[in-house]
Each structure stands twice: as C-alpha cells, then as structure tokens.
C-alpha cells in the first residue's frame, strides 16, 4: 500500500511538471515571440496586450513626426509618479524646458522631446535646402551657421560646430511600420506584478527596459530606458 502511494505521488509530480512545460511552450508559440518570466503564471492575453502596447508606443512616436501631431501620445504614454524619469531624461527635459516640472514623467518627456525634434528637423531641412540651392550635395558651415555665428568663430579661431544630419522623409504607413516593428523586436522577458509590468526587449541595436502601468484596464508605457547592447 505504501509503495502504491509513493508511486502515485511520483506519477502526480511528473504529470504536473509535464503540464507546466506544455503550458509554458504554449505561451511561447501563441504568436508572441517572448520568453516568460512572471511573478505568477501570466495570462497569455495579458502578455500579448503588453507587447502590443509597446509596439503601439513606437508606432505613435513614429507617426507623430509623419503627421506633425503629438495628440496621440496620451493614448499610450503616461506620467506615473511611481516611475520616475532617469537622470539623463531629467537633464534633457531641463535643457528643453529650462526646468523639470515636479510631476513630469514619460509622457511629458515625450511631448517636450517631440517639439525639440521638430525644431531640429527644421534646422536640418533648412541647411540642406541651402546646399541644394547652391548646387552642392554636401554641407559647408555657411549652410548651417548664421553669419553672426561664422564671424564669432572666425574671431575666436574656431572650432566649427558639427552640422545637422540628414533626415529621411518617413515613407512607411502606420500599418507598414507596425509590421516592421513586430519583425524587428524580440521580447526577452515580461514580468507582471499587479498593475505594473517590466518588459525587456531587443531591437537589433540595444536592450531596453520598459515599465508599463495599468490604468482603467488599459496598459500604458510609463518608463523606457536602454539597459545594454543587442544580443540578437
């Protein structure tokens, strides 16, 4: 009788272990390309929703500079007091706004960054328009510096500042971008703890950590930072 009980117990443990492996493999093959690390057994739908929120965030960021409209940012980014900006993000915000608002989070950072990027894009376009008008396919300092700036550099003996880069006119549609992003993102881990999720992913260049928060049943990106180099 004792032997039967032990055999039954061992069998039960093996069955549970096999079931666990099958369950986790099912999660990995449900269309999301992730490995799962979770505080508790995650809901595959929830995992997929979190990953889709991150891809949506990239799309919203990309489209803002196509449509020159930042109004979609609050649909996917959020300021959350429990997710502070990194020191580098705070420093950038200080440069753009002259101050860091007390309640500034990732949404505020993104909107301020949007206006700064639009300004930089205009400077690039103006410089390259001057070069083209002069029949050149390369930049010279006169294209991107004002006469006053040039005089000051001559007076002081330099140095010449770096020129603005070339910015390609975005040509992908929102749908094409989403497809491209899914193909170029690999989710390494998703940890869900209540209404907060920490996601690590790779985009062929860097490893990132995003922090998402759930509000009213919907996930938002509240924090984003580079944490390493691509291992993909």
């Amino acid at each position: 009788m004792g032997k039967h009980r032990i055999a039954l117990l061992v069998g039960l443990v093996i069955l549970i272990a096999i079931g666990g492996v099958v369950f986790l493999r099912g999660l990995k093959s449900n269309g999301s390309n992730s490995e799962v690390i979770a505080a508790s057994i995650p809901d595959p739908e929830e995992m997929r929703e979190i990953q889709a929120t991150i891809v949506e965030a990239y799309k919203v960021g990309y489209m803002a500079h196509v449509t020159h409209d930042v109004s979609q940012f609050p649909s996917v980014f959020v300021d959350d007091p429990s997710v502070p900006l990194t020191p580098e993000q705070k420093e950038q915000l200080r440069r753009w706004l002259g101050t860091v608002p007390e309640d500034a989070g990732y949404l505020t950072y993104g909107i301020a960054g949007y206006y700064n990027t639009e300004r930089l894009n205009r400077l690039s376009q103006e410089a390259w328009a001057k070069a083209r008008a002069a029949g050149r396919d390369y930049l010279i300092p006169e294209d991107y510096l004002t006469p006053d700036e040039l005089r000051e550099i001559e007076k002081s003996g330099g140095p010449i500042p770096t020129p603005p880069p070339v910015v390609y006119q975005p040509s992908m549609s929102a749908e094409e971008y989403v497809k491209w992003k899914w193909e170029n993102i690999r989710f390494d881990s998703v940890v869900i703890k209540g209404d907060k999720a920490i996601v690590i992913y790779d985009d062929h260049w860097f490893l990132y950590e995003d922090i998402l928060v759930r509000r009213g049943g919907k996930w938002y990106v509240a924090g984003h930072k580079r944490i390493g180099v691509s291992r993909w």
């Binding site: 990309y62 020129p163 070339v166």
Partner: protein
C-alpha cells in the same frame, strides 16, 4: 575662410580604401562574438567608434596629436588612453567637422564609397532624436551600399539594415 586657431594644420595624404575595407572585414563578423585586434584598446558594449577609428587609421589616415591631448576634440589618436575622438561617437563627429578639407558631409549614405563613415542618430521609442550620433559604422563594398560595424558586430549588411525609420544620418566622405 574659417580659421581653426585651436587646431593643428591640416594633413594631407592618400586614403587607401581597399586597406580600410580589408581591415573592417577582417575584424568583424555576423552572429558571432565580436572580434577585436589586440593591438588596439577594446570597449566591450561600446566599441563602434573605436572600430571605425581603427579602420580609418589602417586606411592610412594618421594620428593627430598624442598623449595628454585626449580631451581635445581637435586631436585624434590611439594610445594607452585613446583620445575622446577615437572612441566616442559624438566626439569623432566634432573632429570630422573641424577638418572640412579632410572630411565632407554628403547628402545621402548612398553617395559614400568604401572606407567612408556613417554616423546615425536613432529615434527613441517616442520618435524623438537629439542630433547627437548614437552609432558609427564603415561603408564597404565596391559600390558602397554595405556596412561593417562593431556593437553589435555586423559584416557586409545593407547600409540601412535594421535602421529604424526616422533615423538621421551624417554621411562622412573621407577626402584625405
């Protein structure tokens, strides 16, 4: 005419693009552990500009300055302590811009030849950029169009492979 009072005189020579390309191909790879030449310093996880500088130098572009000048963005050299411009992406861009007779900023990456340099400013998740380069790579291939790089290592991939839409470029043509 702009003066470069804080900079040394311009140097002149013939850049050996074949030698630069051969070196780039020799010291990178795809889907591999990043190879590195033990004759130079190595910056794991942050080696793209160090790699580009090695390629430039192996193509015959000479050091400018040495030793205690590491902080000065008008100098470029490898030593025990490399110059900032040797291994720092924003810094090498400052160096290029200070020598317009040696480096030219072209309109498009497709105008570059092998041995030329591509600097990239990636958009972040929110589509934003800061006009400060994040990455440096070397153009290779007889008609340009391909790139070699470190961090991560890539060999002879299309110049725009994996580049996020919205990336901005400095296409630096070596005139030396």
């Amino acid at each position: 005419m702009l003066f470069l009072g804080t900079s040394p005189q311009s140097i002149a020579g013939n850049y050996n693009r074949n030698a630069a390309e051969a070196y780039a191909d020799r010291w990178t790879c795809n889907n591999c552990a990043e190879p590195h030449n033990p004759e130079y310093n190595y910056y794991p996880g942050n080696d793209c500009t160090n790699f580009v500088s090695q390629v430039l130098h192996e193509g015959g572009y000479p050091y400018r300055g040495c030793c205690w000048m590491f902080w000065n963005l008008s100098y470029w050299y490898h030593a025990g302590k490399d110059s900032y411009t040797w291994a720092g992406t924003p810094h090498i861009n400052c160096y290029f811009s200070r020598y317009p007779s040696e480096f030219e900023y072209k309109a498009w990456p497709t105008q570059l030849s092998k041995g030329d340099i591509l600097l990239c400013d990636f958009p972040d998740q929110q589509g934003n950029r800061d006009n400060i380069p994040d990455h440096a790579a070397v153009i290779v291939g007889d008609n340009g169009g391909l790139r070699d790089q470190h961090t991560p290592p890539r060999k002879r991939v299309a110049w725009d492979a994996y580049m996020p839409p919205g990336t901005a470029y400095w296409s630096v043509h070596v005139k030396w």
